[in-house]
């Protein structure tokens, strides 16, 4: 009975640690969310993703995140760096930080400031271990209906087909092919600290101006399926998709205006047709 009581007490004490594991180093956090094993079976997709901006979701946005830390938190709010507030940025730029300890959050904030202000390449290299990788999209962020369908199951990967894999548990997900899945981050967003943020506002325009005018394609249709773009997710930084999303015609004519005297005049008419599923430009 004494042993049973001891086991029960130990188990009870251990449960919160297991259920709410927090990581104290970037390496431990990156390991817990590692996609290294994904590439052994999904090599092509992994390489596509590696060339994408999702693979650089922290290091490509360092300036904006640093401004939030230094100006927003430091000067305007006069508040110390905390997990609650840094997750305003990181819930999209590196959602795995939900499992970081407060001390790791402070370390990451320091690295971000150092990487920008001191152009510290070592700091940038550390931060590059944090990104929106396979695990984030195919597990962490996949459930947008947690109340209906429950939270994503541990060690399970959610995809459009749900095809069984010998390497991991697989579940079919309708969410992952929907625009609202992308809209979690590419839209007006209320972060965990409850204070709205206007970082990327694409999704509102997609819903109201594109779907509202009869558009039916999803983000994935243009940014993944078309031209076999796959997991490269091209956007505002790739010329080909920018041209695809905008057609332009221009008519240039020379006339002589005659408001009392002859004035050589160029008449230029330009038509710009936004063929994207959202306003342009936008993030």
């Amino acid at each position: 009975m004494k042993y049973l009581r001891l086991i029960l007490i130990v188990a009870f004490l251990a449960l919160p640690v297991m259920a709410f594991a927090e990581f104290n180093t970037i390496d431990d956090l990156a390991k817990a969310y590692s996609d290294e094993t994904c590439k052994s079976c999904h090599g092509k997709i992994y390489e596509e993703w590696k060339s994408s901006y999702h693979a650089q979701s922290v290091v490509h946005s360092l300036g904006g995140i640093k401004n939030f830390i230094v100006v927003g938190l430091g000067k305007e709010w006069n508040k110390p760096v905390s997990k609650e507030h840094l997750m305003r940025c990181m819930d999209c730029h590196a959602p795995q930080l939900k499992d970081a300890s407060e001390s790791l959050i402070k370390e990451i904030a320091d690295l971000i400031v150092k990487a920008v202000d001191k152009k510290d390449e070592a700091a940038k290299k550390e931060l590059a271990k944090l990104n929106v990788n396979c695990v984030i999209c195919h597990n962490t962020k996949v459930s947008i209906e947690k109340n209906l369908r429950g939270a994503p199951a541990k060690d399970t990967y959610y995809g459009p087909s749900g095809k069984a894999s010998p390497a991991h548990k697989t579940e079919k997900s309708n969410v992952i092919t929907s625009a609202v899945f992308c809209g979690q981050c590419h839209g007006i967003y209320t972060p965990p600290d409850g204070d709205t943020i206007g970082c990327n506002t694409l999704y509102g325009s997609y819903q109201d101006a594109y779907r509202g005018n009869g558009g039916s394609e999803t983000c994935q249709d243009c940014h993944m399926k078309k031209e076999n773009r796959g997991h490269t997710f091209p956007g505002a930084y790739q010329e080909a998709i920018l041209k695809e999303g905008l057609s332009v015609d221009a008519n240039i004519a020379g006339i002589k205006l005659h408001p009392g005297k002859w004035i050589p005049t160029a008449i230029v008419n330009v038509g710009l047709t936004n063929k994207a599923g959202h306003r342009t430009p936008d993030g």
């Binding site: 904006g64 401004n67 939030f68 100006v71 927003g72 305007e76 305003r88 940025c89 204070d195 709205t196 943020i197 206007g198 970082c199 506002t201 325009s205 997609y206 101006a209 594109y210 005018n213 009869g214 558009g215 505002a236 930084y237 010329e239 920018l242 041209k243 905008l246 332009v248 221009a250 240039i252 004519a253 020379g254 002589k256 205006l257 005297k261 002859w262 004035i263 050589p264 005049t265 160029a266 008449i267 230029v268 008419n269 330009v270 038509g271 710009l272 047709t273 936004n274 063929k275 994207a276 599923g277 959202h278 306003r279 342009t280 430009p281 936008d282």
Partner: protein, 93 residues
């Protein structure tokens, strides 16, 4: 839109910019994502054609001019020239 003489001197220019203007609730333009609560939408809407017209009066003695229309897209530190149209205009009879 730029009009130039044969020697490359700019004799008229016109520009139209499309962007979203992030605003805070005090009505001030802000750049920080945490500060922006509303957007003034000056962008190109989807599924629509936006027309722009330029009436570029040139110096009275202009005999000919080259008119160029360029559509560029700024994305962070990058600039992409997406389209360019040029036409030589002759004003001599």
């Amino acid at each position: 839109m730029t009009a130039k003489t044969d020697k490359g001197t700019v004799i008229n220019m016109g520009k139209k910019e499309y962007w979203e203007l992030g605003m805070d609730l005090d009505g001030d333009h802000r750049l920080g994502a945490w500060q922006i609560k509303e957007v003034i939408d000056l962008t190109l809407p989807p599924k629509k054609t936006t027309k722009e017209s330029f009436v570029a009066e040139l110096p009275a003695d202009t005999k000919s001019a080259e008119v160029e229309v360029k559509v560029t897209r700024l994305a962070g530190p990058k600039t992409f020239e997406l389209y360019r149209f040029t036409k030589k205009l002759n004003f001599e009879k």
